[in-house]
């Protein structure tokens, strides 16, 4: 078994998952007529939605600022950057099957970046919607517009993310237990598997070029 995510990273992921679940459920109840009619209790639902939204930065702050943040920082750095192989994958529009991925697939990297950006924008626009008295009325309309469309995008992205995880038990297990099987890592993240078993220079210690190394 290979170690993939440490305890702090997993705690952060699942705290985010719970908050996202609450936010999405309450969003549906606030926004979509049929569900609104079924659930009712708008002030309560709105309150829950606002509180869950405001709590969203908290798990990240705790995970990032505590003494347990080393793995999270390293993985954040990996997630934030496209290396040479990722760029090769992007240039081939995902069709180049010879690309050997590192710890994260480029789509996982994009998912992480999109979600991080979305959280910032949703918090900003949500704040304008909630404390609308302090802003021009025009901004309230604009913020509602952005919040709605980005929410739609988030629903799609989260649905794909969850669907992918459910269709690959080992990937889900990696986030649940923290470890994955060697063979799975070799198939999906070969460069990372090499890195852990020491058959290749560690990621980032030298510029990675296209060809796999041995």
């Amino acid at each position: 078994m290979l170690h993939r995510f440490d305890r702090a990273e997993r705690a952060l992921h699942w705290a985010n998952a719970v908050l996202f679940g609450v936010l999405m459920a309450t969003a549906l109840a606030l926004y979509w007529g049929p569900v609104s009619a079924l659930v009712g209790r708008r002030p309560l639902v709105r309150q829950v939605h606002v509180v869950a939204g405001l709590l969203l930065p908290l798990p990240w702050l705790v995970a990032r600022l505590g003494p347990w943040s080393a793995a999270l920082r390293a993985d954040t750095r990996r997630l934030g950057r496209f290396d040479a192989e990722d760029r090769r994958w992007a240039r081939s529009l995902g069709r180049d099957l010879s690309v050997r991925f590192g710890k994260f697939h480029p789509l996982q990297k994009l998912n992480a970046a999109f979600t991080a950006g979305a959280v910032v924008v949703m918090l900003g626009t949500g704040s304008v919607m909630h404390w609308f008295h302090y802003f021009p009325l025009r901004w309230r309309t604009g913020a509602t517009f952005v919040h709605d469309w980005l929410a739609l995008g988030l629903f799609v992205v989260v649905a794909v993310h969850v669907g992918k995880a459910l269709s690959d038990g080992e990937a889900l297990g990696g986030m649940w237990r923290g470890t994955v099987e060697q063979a799975w890592a070799g198939r999906h993240h070969p460069r990372w598997a090499d890195e852990l078993s020491g058959t290749s220079p560690a990621m980032g210690s030298s510029p990675v070029d296209g060809a796999p190394k041995t």
Partner: protein, 236 residues
């Protein structure tokens, strides 16, 4: 901070989203109204109702000022016309449907910015009910109340007598749904949506305007679309 191997795609994505989000807040109002016009025909043709999930695209949003959606069945529904009238009315849904109906196809504009184009409304003209009840000379205004027991609205008598003010029981040629204020609601075409009191229960004729729920909370009492609340929407 670490090595520089690789393209900082993550940072670019985040910054682009924040930039787009800020632009959307500043200019989203204009984009939204353009988008509404673009998407309205698609939504009108949609029979699945799924397109109501598309944001800001010419669909109703559901608001209630209380913590629930009020409920009256068609059978138990009553509308009373009271106050400064010679003949107070107490009407059921069937009584309203038995009176001459008016069908209007007009936009619905909310003060928060969304607009639903070309909505068919059917109901009894408010002026007809007022004539039937016999408004007394001392009267100058109306107060509407909702059976949610919280919401109230107001109109001057002159505003209420306009032909585009309906006591509506059909919306989009279907009975007004519970979420949208059914079985009976007001529709004041030329004014922002908050004037169109949902779950209408009582019309009380008064001597002067009594500000309604939102009007006590800072919104304009004369809520003409495009000429109030600091907005410049196209009049209906």
């Amino acid at each position: 901070m670490g090595d520089d191997a690789g393209t900082p795609v993550g940072r670019r994505v985040v910054l682009a989203m924040v930039g787009l989000g800020a632009a959307g807040v500043l200019f989203g109002e204009r984009v939204a109204s353009g988008l509404n016009r673009l998407l309205a025909p698609l939504q009108a043709a949609d029979r699945t109702g799924l397109s109501s999930l598309i944001p800001a695209a010419g669909r109703f949003r559901i608001y209630s000022v209380v913590g629930f959606l009020p409920k009256r069945t068609d059978a138990e529904y009553r509308l009373r016309v009271t106050g400064l009238v010679d003949r107070p009315l107490d009407l059921g849904l069937a009584d309203l449907r038995a009176r001459p109906a008016t069908r209007l196809v007009k936009d619905f504009q909310c003060v928060t910015g969304w607009r639903v184009p070309d909505v068919p409304w059917t109901g009894v003209q408010l002026s007809a009910l007022l004539d039937e009840a016999g408004v007394q000379p001392a009267a100058g205004a109306l107060t509407f109340s909702s059976f949610d027991r919280s919401y109230t609205e107001s109109l001057t008598l002159d505003q209420a007598r306009r032909p585009d003010v309906l006591v509506a029981y059909e919306l989009e040629d279907k009975p007004v749904s519970r979420a949208q204020g059914g079985p009976v609601r007001l529709y004041v075409a030329p004014m922002y949506g908050y004037k169109s009191c949902k779950w209408l229960e009582e019309i009380r004729v008064t001597d002067a305007v009594e500000p309604g729920y939102w009007e006590q909370r800072g919104y304009d009492t004369d809520a003409w679309i495009g000429r109030s609340n600091g907005r410049k929407d196209k009049p209906v």
